[in-house]
Symmetry: C2
Subunit: 407 residues, 2 copies
């Protein structure tokens, strides 16, 4: 019988992060691992020895099916940045003491850039102390900003929800025969993968959003206004998709401009709000037309009722591949997705040196952005489209999707 | 062969308003009506003779299936308030001249309170001039604020989306091991049916939102803060559902506290948005914890990807019943839904004098609100739960729900 597994989840959740947990759990059990433990709230919880036995959580195959359909991080998450080995040796000693106590042989961390940094440091420390514990990272982020991997689990489902909502919002905008501008604010501080995915709402590039602004481009308020005025000459309802992280040429975030307007509440407190609200206000004041800001907010990362089956399957797959890699003796690696072909879509997994992935950020390549037309290219769409395919029907109880709740 | 039909859609759209259009169209054709015309953008478009032949739009049964799954108003909508017969006789003359030109015998208007006022006035005018044209109202509004009818088509799907999103947001809020308050802002100016439906997210009244504030209750900022502080003693992640229209004891909308200048729409209704942001800001300043405002915005009325099949079926049914009532000679009526039994759920249609429904507003009864606990009662939940049942799978093309687009 193999040694025990410890698995954790870190960073912002996705609609499919629990599918990766299901992949780790099920593959480990199938491989003959004795115990699969989960750490609550990642490394932060581990340091407080918040460890649970997953066999006590998942009692049958239906639980695994529910887990795949449950949004947010089943184990809870954290935003804990592990310090360097030289700076905080006692933290490493504490972690390894807990791992020893639970007889952990395989350690999996499902997360983004920061989590891969954790895997990198822990595997490095293990090497220094000649520990045989193996550390493998399982990629996860709606932002799709991890390097080397073709894409990240979580991105496809977020893109699918964003495209679905955008399509519905575009239709909703057509309802009145009056001029209106709707701004859809989409997550993505530095990378525009999610905002670009709003373009999928168009069919044969018809009827998608009219403009898409990514953080990779400079945003100019006057040019924005001119583009809206030009569009209003031919159509009444205009829909614009923006990344929350769009910035002016001078580097300021558009959402920061709100503060400079000194919007205050009745107590004189500055009101903080997003880029979408700022732009909707700006256009209302300068053009006089009806405007609306729609912030997709956390729904884009937790709307598991509308998740992509391709994404769920891949999330499960990277979890399983991590277990297999660890059992085969690998450590200090992250599982990556490798696209074999786009049409038909074929994708496989490999493991890759995590030190070459951690802390890096993959942005939308310049050649996939039509800067003049303020849109993404067909190449961008061909890249994303396979990732939003197919659906996994929620298990509905009394009209609502059923989730698996931790004991 | 029977005379022609003219059908229009008015007011804010719903996820199922097109299912009522499908019900009118299909029943009229099945009954042997020659032509079914649609007015674009309601009465406002009709006055400009924007009339289309629906036979040219719907070419087969698949189109009808797509129409049922298409959000927003297929024909476009308006917020046109028809003046009194004495005030604007020329408007009535113009409308009836157009009806005569298209040989319209049956007139259907799918809408809410204001639209029922239109049906009431037009049927009254027809009586005055001895016209044989029959006018029937088809109820529609996510707000569920029409009188007499047990509930309104559109409400169930909005409630289902709100409950689904609330459930996902509650789970998302649990992800970090830190104090946070999430405010979900839900539509509803004067009636709290939609905000109350957020309570469906709880299972056996566990894990729903922690507090629900309806516009039927007075809102008090200090009491709100105290309730949050009390809740924070036992749990970290708190989720609050509020109606956009919550007001202070002195009658001011909470969202007005944000802006000095109050915007109004053409009916003089205050344009509301921002109560959630205001409260999130207020708690952040006064309690120092992480807060987030999530405005479900137009998604709650256009998320047809998550519509209720009970709602879609009833929306189709009231459209069909309107046609049958008109052919049987009725006029000046609205079709109402009459609940026969809640468990098992059985509901039928009847017609009802529209003059006794128009311009009235049905609020959540006081006895269905737990004022002390700031929640809705089990009776409220038993009333709403049947309306969110079952799903009608979208027809997915390339990973996204397919809609029917007007030629």
């Amino acid at each position: 019988m193999l040694g025990n597994v410890l698995v954790g989840q870190s960073g912002g959740p996705t609609a499919v992060i629990n599918s990766s947990l299901a992949g780790v759990y099920k593959t480990a059990k199938d491989q003959g691992v004795k115990k699969v433990y989960g750490m609550l709230h990642g490394i932060q919880g581990l340091l407080e020895e918040k460890v649970i036995d997953l066999d006590e959580q998942f009692s049958n195959e239906l639980d695994i099916e529910l887990l795949k359909r449950t949004p947010s991080s089943y184990l809870g998450s954290c935003r804990y940045k592990l310090q360097g080995i030289d700076e905080a040796k006692e933290v490493y000693e504490k972690i390894f003491a807990i791992l020893k106590k639970y007889e952990v042989k395989y350690f999996f961390y499902i997360g983004g850039n920061d989590s891969m940094d954790t895997i990198n440091k822990l595997s490095e420390y293990a090497r220094l102390i000649n520990s045989e514990i193996r550390f493998i990272g399982v990629p996860k982020t709606i932002d799709n900003d991890l390097e080397v991997t073709d894409h990240t689990p979580g991105f496809g489902s977020a893109a699918k929800f964003i495209a679905t909502a955008t399509k519905e919002i575009i239709r909703d905008g057509l309802v009145y025969d009056t001029k209106s501008v709707t701004i859809i604010e989409i997550m993505g501080r530095n990378a525009g993968w999610l905002a670009g995915s709003a373009a999928l709402a168009g069919e044969q590039h018809v009827n998608g959003p009219d403009l898409i602004f990514l953080p990779e481009m400079h945003f100019n308020l006057e040019e924005f206004k001119e583009k809206i005025i030009a569009l209003q000459k031919t159509k009444k309802s205009i829909v614009v998709a923006i990344s929350e992280g769009i910035r002016l040429q001078d580097g300021r975030y558009v959402c920061e401009l709100m503060n400079e307007d000194k919007s205050v509440d009745m107590f004189g407190h500055a009101v903080l709000s997003g880029a979408g609200y700022y732009l909707a206000n700006f256009l209302k004041k300068s053009l006089g037309c009806k405007t609306r800001a729609i912030e997709l907010n956390t729904l884009q990362r937790c709307a598991s009722h509308a998740a992509s089956l391709v994404d769920i399957t891949e999330a499960f797959g990277v979890g399983g591949a991590a277990v297999n890699a660890a059992i085969e003796g690998e450590t200090g690696k992250m599982i990556i997705l490798k696209r074999i072909s786009t049409n038909p879509y074929l994708c496989t997994t490999e493991s890759y040196d995590v030190s070459k992935i951690a802390n890096l950020e993959k942005k939308v390549p310049k050649e996939w952005i039509k800067e003049d037309e303020v849109y993404v290219t067909d190449e961008f769409l061909d890249y994303v489209r396979p990732l939003i395919q197919e659906e996994l029907t929620p298990i509905y109880i009394d009209g609502l999707p059923k989730h698996l709740v931790r004991n």
